[in-house]
């Protein structure tokens, strides 16, 4: 059964009729067409679906859309402003933090929450914050370096 869901997605208030059993992941991808958020596993294992809910990383594949009614959702699509990549997006691009790219939106959203909370994290703090995000390509070293590079650039992200 569909009922009305009100929430904010990437800064825009929305009102949509959404099935009560819809996952936040399906709502973002299928209803809103925000396919940057990925589904990498059959539930809770990989972190590819990480989005921010009121600034905190959450797994969109293990969250009911209606359970975040009234909250502020941010996805990878919300990071760039007027076509300019955010500091993390640029750092992942320039420091080879992304290979196939499938884990990248989740990695960047988890890292974004970290940098807002702790602008100058240590290597261990970066690894701890990304511990729930799996990558089958990079071996993680380049990802950690990308986050360090983003932290090192002064510019505040959008």
């Amino acid at each position: 059964m569909k009922t009305l869901l009100r929430l904010s997605v990437n800064g825009r208030l929305r009102e949509d009729a959404v099935a009560e059993n819809a996952l936040l992941l399906d709502y973002l991808r299928d209803t809103l067409g925000l396919t940057g958020t990925k589904q990498g596993c059959d539930g809770g294992e990989c972190g590819a679906c990480t989005v921010l809910v009121d600034g905190q990383p959450r797994l969109a594949c293990s969250t009911l859309a209606h359970s975040v009614a009234g909250r502020r959702i941010e996805t990878i699509e919300g990071l760039s402003t007027e076509g300019n990549l955010s500091r993390l997006q640029r750092a992942f691009h320039e420091h080879l933090g992304s290979q196939c790219g499938f884990c990248t939106p989740g990695m960047i959203m988890a890292a974004e929450a970290l940098l807002r909370r702790n602008p100058q994290p240590s290597r261990d703090e970066i690894r701890a914050a990304l511990a729930g995000n799996l990558c089958r390509c990079t071996g993680y070293v380049k990802i950690v370096e990308s986050v360090e590079a983003a932290a090192a650039c002064d510019e505040v992200s959008a």
């Binding site: 059993n21 294992e45 990480t50 797994l59 359970s67 914050a129």
Partner: protein
């Protein structure tokens, strides 16, 4: 992977209303953080016509510190719990156990109540529908036989929550709300050693809160063994709480997870009270631990490993606490 089956989502504003809804809808389930329930529903392991969301119940999100008792609402998230100043300072085993659950993103959603009520786990159960069908299912769901112990009349799926052993070692009680009101139980009595019915929770009862003493003179810790350093469930997990009396043991409590269908409070350790912590005392503890746990082939990692590793881990933690507690 399959989408979720059809269900209605109800969002009560009070715990009493949640219990009433649960009673009115027999095929219903509570959802807290959803990090256990939703993956299980997607794999067809759990079904529900009605899902009752506990998110809007403010009274279940409180951490209260009155006198020498700490009361933690069941809807408090593990991230909040692990960062709570009182928990960090006075109940380190609880903070460490909460931090050992899954990954950081899970812990932002995952709750204390969901962790204590976690579905038991087994390598023959936590699989896709296709996998289970190809293996003709098992007794826990849709089959007749236990694949782990084919002659057994019970299921041995392992309770694998990290927080319960810490709370057992810390002497916690649970508050349960039912249609008749609140009842209190020692946490140990909340669990049953049966992989299919592991909770002493009635069909229309809700876990409301957990209470524990903030006793002086205790030190405590929790550690788990797992395949990867993050995300994984415990192959075995051990919580230890120790009160040292000068050069002798005042009281020693050990509880384990992942090695039985319930979190296991190790019985018999009271015989160590008044004794020094020497090799003989550690050997006695090892004997009681081996008697208390029953790991079965519920994980890919072997039974002998989990049987041997559990007392080794426990003894390591006891020695560490002994030095800390002096």
């Amino acid at each position: 992977m399959g989408a979720l089956s059809e269900f209605r989502l109800l969002s009560p504003a009070s715990a009493a209303e949640a219990v009433r809804l649960r009673g009115a809808h027999p095929a219903s389930r509570f959802i807290a953080g959803g990090t256990d329930l939703l993956p299980n529903m997607r794999r067809g392991l759990v079904g529900a016509e009605v899902v009752i969301d506990l998110a809007g119940i403010g009274e279940m999100r409180e951490v209260q510190h009155t006198g020498d008792v700490l009361r933690i609402g069941a809807r408090v998230t593990l991230a909040t719990l692990a960062a709570d100043a009182t928990v960090l300072a006075r109940l380190p085993a609880l903070a460490q156990a909460a931090l050992a659950v899954a990954g950081p993103t899970h812990r932002n959603a995952a709750t204390l109540g969901g962790n204590l009520c976690l579905e038991t786990r087994c390598q023959y159960f936590n699989q896709s529908e296709h996998w289970r069908q190809a293996n003709q299912y098992c007794m826990k769901l849709a089959g007749d036989v236990c694949r782990v112990a084919p002659k057994s009349s019970r299921c041995y799926a392992a309770f694998s929550g990290d927080v319960a052993p810490a709370l057992l070692a810390l002497g916690a009680d649970v508050e349960i709300l039912g249609p008749q009101g609140v009842r209190r139980l020692p946490l140990a009595e909340f669990y049953v050693d049966d992989g299919m019915r592991w909770l002493a929770l009635g069909p229309d009862e809700l876990l409301l809160a957990v209470t524990m003493p903030l006793a002086n003179g205790w030190v405590s810790t929790y550690e788990k063994l797992r395949v990867r350093g993050a995300i994984d469930f415990p192959l075995t997990g051990v919580a230890v709480a120790l009160r040292r009396d000068g050069d002798t043991i005042g009281e020693l409590r050990i509880a384990c997870t992942g090695v039985s269908s319930r979190p296991e409070f190790i019985a018999g350790l009271d015989e160590l009270a008044g004794k020094p912590l020497d090799d003989a005392a550690l050997a006695t503890a090892e004997r009681h631990i081996k008697r208390g746990i029953q790991p079965m082939e519920t994980t890919l990692v072997s039974v002998p490993y989990r049987r041997r590793a559990t007392p080794v881990l426990a003894k390591r933690l006891v020695r560490r606490l002994w030095d800390e507690g002096s």
